[in-house]
């Protein structure tokens, strides 16, 4: 047996842990695996953090890999142990405490941290964030925010993007007055166009959230703890709590220090390998692929599949070609879905637009060569499941664009039996149409029972018997024969008078036949 390769993974978040899972799912016997996580937990589902903040889920409910999972799979996990350096020459990682661990293959999945914009008086003299100021990134952050919000009356959130709105939602459930401070001119400017951003703002405001767009914070007021914000235009806002949710910044310092190419993130090939070192891979929010850094889970899981295919040699041709971005969320009761490019790129792109501001509904599709390349749905996202799949899979779209925005024809009102055309099937089990029943009645079968026996309508599962009865009543128009009798809905079977051959007879018959 060949000696096992030493696989070291820095980062135990949704990318790192998932990468190891994918490797194990492909066998992975060729590796001894060691993982380092900065947080003292197993891996948890970051997607669900806002659910924890709003109290819908407990922290235990969002764990993806509890600590015993690592033991079961013979993975050495150093939780709460950040890596300080990578010694590429020696092929070793070095922990903060100086422990050196050798690797044959290294996966960097260090993720990202909260981006904190430059603002005056943000930190205390020790360099810590002022009391009452939080970033929104980890499970710890989440729990701290939730507990601080209990005694807060007015909270500000810097950042009007996805994360900022989720933070605002969480704070609102703790009973705070909430202000969103957004530098751009509209909310969620990454995912929405100006008009839908404005509609979302109106919806947020209707729910009691104060939204300040085109507003940049210059400094944080308060001596020991936050008491307010001061903006670039000189105005101020009083608050006793601040959550910074202004975006993410890849954790690439470690890579930078050991000489790997880092732009916004660690630059990787289509195999998720560093462009500088064939033993080092990077996945997740710390990686930069074809100029893109991804912060959503779906692209990251696509990356780790490619990585696992390559490392385990299950599919040496596996390559990552970038991901299509789509998000769907509910912000304080407002349903929202956004995918791809929300503005046309040139005059050939087709834009389909529906706007109903009064009800807060906005739908926009951007179509190129009959394929959906982007969409926004706000307020009514009934079609989002279909549109998101069309977008993901590049499916050719049907000709009528309206059908993409609305459920046309669905739920048409039930016509009465009498108005239905003759070819309408009444009895599915026996294929009997309304016309056949009409003819049967015309030929003199003037009771439900007679019609059923003649056509066998209602003699399968029996569920159409009431319709047969209704048709007989209608076609006979009060002139039914004297044998008209109602059918019992509960029983289907009309006994025949038969002389049934007992089982023993069958036996003798069969013996007589044997040849």
């Amino acid at each position: 047996m060949t000696e096992k390769q030493r696989l070291v993974v820095i980062g135990n978040g949704m990318a790192g842990a998932r990468a190891v899972e994918e490797i194990l799912a492909r066998g992975g016997e060729q590796f001894t695996i060691t993982m380092f996580g900065a947080e003292p937990y197993g891996n948890y589902n970051r997607i669900m953090l806002s659910e924890v903040l709003s109290g819908n889920q407990s922290p235990e409910q969002i764990f993806l890999n509890p600590l015993d999972w690592y033991a079961e799979h013979n993975i050495t996990l150093h939780a709460g142990t950040p890596i300080a350096n990578i010694d590429r020459a020696a092929r070793e990682v070095i922990t903060q405490h100086g422990l050196r661990v050798p690797y044959d293959i290294l996966i960097i999945a260090t993720g990202s941290h909260a981006f904190v914009p430059l603002m005056d008086d943000l930190r205390d003299s020790a360099g810590r964030l002022k009391e009452g100021v939080f970033v929104f990134r980890t499970l710890d952050d989440c729990q701290k925010i939730a507990s601080y919000a209990q005694r807060s009356t007015c909270a500000a959130v810097i950042g009007g993007g996805l994360l900022g709105l989720e933070a605002a939602r969480g704070l609102l459930t703790h009973g705070c007055e909430v202000h969103i401070i957004q530098r751009a001119s509209s909310l969620m400017n990454q995912q929405l166009d100006t008009r839908s951003g404005a509609l979302l703002k109106a919806a947020m405001e209707a729910l009691g959230v104060h939204v300040h767009c085109d507003t940049q914070t210059s400094s944080i007021l308060g001596n020991r703890n936050v008491t307010g914000l001061k903006f670039e235009d000189g105005s101020e806002l009083a608050c006793d709590m601040l959550v910074i949710a202004a975006g993410i910044k890849p954790n690439a310092d470690l890579a930078l220090r050991c000489g790997l190419t880092v732009e916004r993130g660690i630059v990787v090939t289509d195999q998720m390998r560093s462009v500088d070192d064939s033993c080092i891979y990077a996945v997740g929010e710390c990686a930069q692929h074809r100029g893109m850094v991804y912060g959503l889970v779906a692209p990251i899981w696509e990356q780790v599949r490619v990585l696992a295919d390559n490392l385990t040699r299950q599919n040496g041709d596996a390559a990552y070609h970038g991901s299509k971005l789509a998000t769907k969320l509910k912000v304080m009761g407002v349903d929202l879905a956004s995918m791809g490019r929300v503005e046309p790129q040139d005059e050939h792109d087709e834009v389909v637009l529906y706007s109903e501001p009064k009800r807060g509904i906005y739908k926009k599709l951007v179509i190129r060569d009959d394929r959906l390349i982007g969409a926004i749905l706000l307020g009514d996202i009934g079609k989002s499941a279909y549109l998101m799949q069309s977008f993901d899979r590049n499916t050719p779209l049907p000709g009528e664009r309206a059908a993409l925005l609305f459920d046309i024809g669905a739920g048409a009102k039930q016509e009465s039996l009498q108005d239905l055309p003759d070819d309408t099937q009444i009895c599915n089990c026996n294929g009997v149409s309304k016309g056949v029943i009409r003819q049967c009645i015309a030929k003199g079968k003037r009771s439900p029972k007679a019609v059923m026996e003649a056509t066998r309508a209602g003699m399968g599962c029996g569920s159409c018997k009431s319709q047969v009865q209704e048709l007989v009543t209608f076609f006979c128009a009060g002139d039914s024969g004297e044998d008209f009798e109602l059918i019992n809905q509960e029983t289907l079977y009309t006994p025949l008078t038969l002389s049934v051959k007992p089982c023993a007879d069958a036996k003798s018959a069969s013996q007589g036949q044997a040849q």
Partner: protein
């Protein structure tokens, strides 16, 4: 008013519901009359009502046919000549290529007696490992999943009569309104009692239209859907911790896996809105009793076993198994789909649901058959693998086929036809000259249901009696007579009885002590008790209508949770083949249509194959209702009429599989196999379509005329 007609109590020849019926003979003409039996309570669908029309059908085979060489025509011959030829070809193939060069392909419509005898014939008279049957295409995924989770595979571990008392039912990949209509009585009653029916199907089928809630999922996303429902159930506190602790094992790992299936992700994978997922989880989780039932839609996929396991996980986590009016069940398809898989017709199996690679099981069967255990072959190839290697080096060279029509019903049917044609020798026993029989060197005319005696085991695990009601046409033999006749010519005559009761008695001994134990079942008991549920180890035992109430059939008595990840279908739509193709059945027809296409009433009801297309999608290709459409996949082409309907997804088309020419759906389907069950992926592949222009139609018509 009183008229006395001589009537024989029997069952419908078609699906696994096995509706009770009487066969009456009035002035020599056989006819069907309804019978109040627990499966159908007197109801019959159009197939059942017209079943007797095939007994005296003009196209009925009444004499053996044989061709002397491959370019010769099939011509009538005497039985003696036909059987001698088959025996001779078997000997020749085995002398030339070894024992394994002979194979058997059976069917899920054959009686237990035939299935048992066929399995014994392969192992004792031919000593070949290669026997499998079309039931592999039917329920093998559900069977494998049930064995893994519960330790036993009986389609439904409870009788149909329990359905009305379930508060919520989740029905996945099943269009029972069309495929087994009379069973709707139970679902209707359930809804009349205020129960909810949730139907999971890519089409708004007639069944889905009668549901409380319809989840119109993307083809092939079943496991993601099931995991998503379980995720929501955990999130919303709907799971039954006491049940999980007391009756199951392995939940922690499943919980961990489904943590990654949050509703928005599952919506994107399945196309089912998160709101509907939540509604479904709530309906299931808050109900006091619930059932989860699967059928071919979710099972006939290359991830079929995983799909079923994912739904079993959901049932177990909700505590909806092993309790009255609760449980997971599979709605088997073929008439004897259940019994056909229990008694040795499957490549890896021996009677009584024993395993052919288990030394104890082998020893028991060797004793019953009075042969040396070492002489029993090991496991053979699964159905598609068997067909795929016909006529090849190392493959089967001479094949005996009964009760099946794989030239129409196997996936990648065009290829399977070529493989059948590549055989040195093919013998087929059937009622009619099916598409497969047309390829045969010898065709043997076989009896029909009403002309023979035997037992069937329906979807509930209820063993039923098929009684002989009329004589077969002169010159027609039963399958058991054919097998006995061949065994005699191969030198094993005394070991193969032809009389069904004698075979059943042997089957009872062979199954004794096995999982599917029939030892206590007799023809008389079946007739007297409206069927007997297995296991029934002795004649005093009442049979077992409900399994698992005390314990599951695993070693420790606990049901097993098994973690499942979503895997995409083997072939997903892409730029070249941009849509999903799904296949299924229509009410008027059964399987490859060999029988039902020959019944006038059924042909009138459903004369031809069709493709269901959403009108918005059809317009894109300028296809109008009833236009001819050419469907193409990586495996073949089919030409069928368009049927425009808004009941189908915009990215999916549907074709029924009952036809055998250029309208054959299985020329298109993908033979990618489930790694465990070897079930082919009939239900999902990628297709492109084009309208067949009128001038092409003209050319085609001329071609056909010449």
């Amino acid at each position: 008013m009183l008229e006395l007609i001589a009537a024989t109590a029997t069952h419908c020849p078609y699906c696994s519901l096995q509706c009770g019926m009487y066969l009456t003979i009035d002035e020599g003409r056989p006819a069907v009359a309804p019978r109040d039996f627990p499966t159908n309570r007197g109801g019959l669908c159009q197939k059942g009502w017209t079943a007797a029309n095939l007994l005296a059908h003009p196209e009925r085979l009444t004499t053996p046919l044989m061709r002397h060489s491959k370019d010769d025509d099939l011509r009538p011959v005497a039985w003696e000549t036909a059987l001698e030829r088959i025996a001779c070809e078997i000997r020749a193939a085995q002398e030339c290529y070894g024992r394994d060069a002979v194979g058997i392909f059976g069917g899920g419509g054959l009686t237990n007696e035939k299935a048992y005898l066929l399995g014994k014939f392969a192992r004792v008279a031919l000593r070949t490992p290669h026997i499998d049957y079309n039931g592999r295409f039917c329920m093998s995924s559900a069977a494998a999943a049930s064995i893994k989770a519960f330790g036993v595979d009986r389609g439904m571990p409870f009788p149909l009569e329990d359905i009305p008392s379930a508060e919520t039912i989740l029905l996945i990949g099943s269009n029972v309104v069309e495929t087994m209509p009379p069973v709707m009585q139970y679902f209707d009653e359930q809804q009349r009692h205020g129960g909810s029916l949730i139907v999971v199907d890519p089409r708004a089928t007639r069944t889905a239209q009668r549901a409380t809630l319809h989840l119109q999922l993307t083809p092939g996303s079943d496991a993601a859907l099931a995991n998503g429902l379980l995720h929501i159930a955990i999130r919303d506190g709907l799971i039954d911790h006491d049940f999980i602790a007391a009756r199951t094992s392995g939940f922690a790992e499943v919980r961990r896996v489904v943590a990654s299936y949050w509703p928005e992700r599952v919506e994107r994978l399945t196309g089912v809105p998160a709101k509907q997922l939540t509604a479904a989880a709530q309906l299931l989780g808050t109900a006091a009793t619930a059932m989860i039932l699967t059928a071919r839609g979710t099972e006939q996929q290359s991830s079929g076993v995983d799909n079923v396991l994912a739904f079993i996980n959901l049932a177990l986590a909700l505590g909806k198994a092993g309790r009255p009016s609760c449980g997971y069940g599979c709605l088997t398809g073929q008439g004897n789909g259940q019994g056909g898989r229990e008694h040795g017709q499957k490549a890896d199996q021996l009677p009584g649901y024993r395993k052919i690679d288990n030394p104890e099981h082998r020893a028991h069967i060797a004793r019953v058959w009075d042969v040396d255990e070492a002489s029993l072959p090991g496991p053979g190839r699964s159905a598609y693998e068997l067909l795929d290697t016909l006529g090849e080096a190392g493959g089967v060279r001479a094949l005996l086929l009964m009760g099946s029509n794989p030239a129409v019903s196997a996936p990648h049917a065009g290829h399977v036809r070529k493989r059948l044609a590549a055989l040195d020798f093919l013998a087929v026993a059937d009622l009619f000259l099916s598409e497969t029989a047309q390829l045969a060197d010898v065709v043997l005319p076989a009896t029909q249901w009403a002309e023979e005696e035997g037992t069937m085991t329906n979807l509930e695990g209820r063993v039923l009696l098929r009684q002989r009601a009329c004589d077969p046409p002169p010159g027609v033999w039963s399958d058991t007579q054919i097998i006995a006749g061949l065994a005699e010519r191969l030198g094993y005559g005394q070991r193969f009885p032809a009389e069904p009761r004698a075979i059943f008695d042997e089957l009872r001994r062979a199954s004794a002590g096995g999982i599917a134990d029939y030892a206590g079942i007799t023809y008389e008991r079946i007739a007297a008790e409206d069927g007997v549920f297995w296991p029934c180890p002795d004649e005093q035992h009442p049979g077992t209508p409900r399994l698992f109430l005390e314990r599951f059939a695993t070693d420790d008595g606990r049901a097993r949770f098994l973690p499942v990840q979503h895997r995409p279908a083997a072939e997903e739509p892409d730029n070249d083949y941009p849509f999903y193709l799904i296949t299924g059945r229509v009410m008027a027809h059964y399987q490859s249509g060999t029988q039902t296409r020959r019944v006038k009433e059924l042909r009138d009801a459903s004369p031809q194959a069709f493709v269901e297309i959403h009108p918005a999608l059809a317009r894109r290709y300028a296809i109008a209702d009833n236009d001819l459409v050419r469907l193409t996949t990586r495996r073949g082409t089919a030409i069928v009429h368009a049927r425009l309907t808004t009941t189908i997804r915009l990215d999916t088309v549907f074709v029924p599989f009952h036809w055998g020419d250029e309208d054959c759906a299985n020329r298109l389907t993908n033979p990618a196999l489930d790694p465990v069950s070897k079930m082919p992926e009939f239900k999902v592949c990628a297709v492109r379509m084009a309208k067949v222009e009128p001038h092409e139609t003209l050319i085609r018509a001329k071609g056909a005329a010449q």
